[in-house]
Amino acid sequence: MKDVHVECQRLMDWQELAKGCLIQEAATSLNFKTGDWRSMRPVWSEDKCIQCLFCWITCPDSAIKVKDGKVTGIDYEFCKGCGICAQICPEKASAIEMIREEK
């Protein structure tokens, strides 16, 4: 796993840095893949899903993939496995199950 700094060819000296840890581009979190933090994996079942989008709005990592207003899956490159989506999923649907990550 590399973060945005390490993707530079080399680590910079302090004299070369912009003041205050400023990064001269936006949305750098896209370069910081947090998926390998996960110990529990959310597994989504399309059949059970009632498309309420509660999981999408509560996921702290924007890891619920949505297309045309519908959940299409989970982005495991960023999902940290917090389980909020599974908790928030309405009981009658229970469309997300948390399972242990295997090596």
Partner: protein
């Protein structure tokens, strides 16, 4: 030149009005309440263009200042004591992001026991936060310092605290010479930060997570920005002298020619001590005064230059380090003098906590004792608690 009568708080609010910042976010606290109260009147009366944010706490007030400053605004606030303590976390965030916010502060003791009067424990407790610190001796200096500090802050990308002594300066009416609004505007110029969040054509990332690989380098560059403050300050203070006729060195010497001993102190006590110096000089005593005005960054060479010529120096500290070794000015000054081949003897007087009055007789006593120390070369008591019952 216009001469008006104003208290310390009125003087600082007036300087803020003439600066006309983009954003002021504040929460009231005695004895600094008036600064933002008066300023909010300027806002209500349309005398400034400032967006005034009445926050729900000092933590929120300074947080709002940080947001406004990152956005690219010229930003100020005011607080005292517990308010500064509550801002403590955000002080580091403002400084670490190089945001040139200016706080008009009134020095007040920290609880417990609860007290609203003057000592310097609030700002001394924040001296490692990365903010410049200026201690004013009177209202005039507070007014001038706000204007100077803002320009230094914006030039260096380092935030600043300008303070006065609670009630002694903040609430006492003083003669004040003020500049015209246009003169202040011309002096400070327009604030054009190189990077700012509202530069929507060039989006950037502010305040990201910074781990083992870069945090240290960013801190090192922050220290470097701080190391350039003093030179910039000296230049801007001279520019200000040309404009106003008033010059404020980082460290002020008063009647030190031929003096063998001196008091080294800050704030309003320095003005009181000047009276004592005049009287004792009349009597032929070889004494002088050195006033600490800028305390962050430490004007190391200036302090060395000012104090090295004496046989003995008595520091008067209006706070204590709780290290059982006196106050912060004493400890840091001792550190600075360590490099000298010939060092003056140095002792400490912790005084005036919680607004305990410092009398002429107290200062005379300090001069008497330090004169004796210089004569005998012996220090019987390195730290004295001056003016507290139960102590000699």
């Amino acid at each position: 030149m216009k001469v008006i009568a104003k208290t310390g708080n009125e003087a600082m609010a007036y300087a803020m009005k003439q600066i006309n910042p983009d954003v002021v976010a504040a929460y009231p606290i005695t004895p600094a309440t008036e600064v933002v109260q008066i300023f909010s009147n300027y806002v209500a009366d349309g005398e400034v263009d400032t967006e005034f944010v009445a926050a729900e706490s000092e933590h929120s007030a300074l947080s709002a200042c940080v947001g406004a400053s990152v956005a690219g605004g010229r930003v100020m606030t005011s607080t005292a004591s517990q308010g500064l303590a509550l801002m403590h976390e955000i002080l580091y965030i403002a400084a670490g992001n190089h945001l040139p916010i200016v706080i008009a502060l009134v020095n007040r003791s920290l609880s417990a026991p609860i007290n609203i009067h003057c000592d310097h424990s609030d700002t001394m407790g924040s001296r490692e936060a990365g903010w410049m610190q200026f201690y004013s001796a009177n209202s005039q200096e507070a007014y001038d310092s706000i204007i100077i500090a803002l320009k230094v802050a914006e030039t260096c990308g380092v935030p600043a605290i300008v303070s006065t002594d609670a009630f002694i300066i903040s609430h006492c009416m003083d003669r004040l010479e003020v500049l015209e609004d246009e003169e202040v505007q011309k002096f400070i110029g327009e604030y054009n930060p190189k990077y700012y969040a509202l530069d929507i054509g060039k989006p950037k990332t502010y305040g990201p997570l910074d781990l083992q690989d870069y945090f240290f380098e960013h801190k090192r560059s922050q220290i470097d920005a701080f190391s350039k403050v003093l030179g910039t300050y000296n230049k801007i203070a001279q520019e200000y002298e040309k404009l106003s006729g008033r010059y404020y060195p980082a460290v002020e010497e008063y009647r030190t020619d031929g003096a063998e001993v001196a008091i080294f102190t800050a704030g309003s006590t320095a003005d009181t001590a000047k009276e004592v110096v005049d009287d004792l000089r009349e009597q032929g005593r070889k004494i002088g005064l050195v006033r600490m005005r800028m305390w962050r960054p430490l004007p190391i060479e200036e302090i060395k230059k000012a104090l090295s010529k004496f046989k003995a120096v008595a520091v008067m500290d209006r706070s204590d380090t709780m290290a059982d070794f006196g106050g912060p000015v004493f400890l840091e000054t001792r550190g600075i003098l360590y490099d000298l081949d010939k060092r003056p003897i140095i002792t400490d007087y912790v005084y005036g906590l919680g607004g305990r009055n410092v009398e002429i007789a107290d200062i005379v006593r300090v001069y008497d004792e330090i004169t004796e120390v210089a004569k005998t070369g012996k220090v019987s008591k390195p730290v004295t608690y001056l003016g507290v019952r139960g102590e000699e």
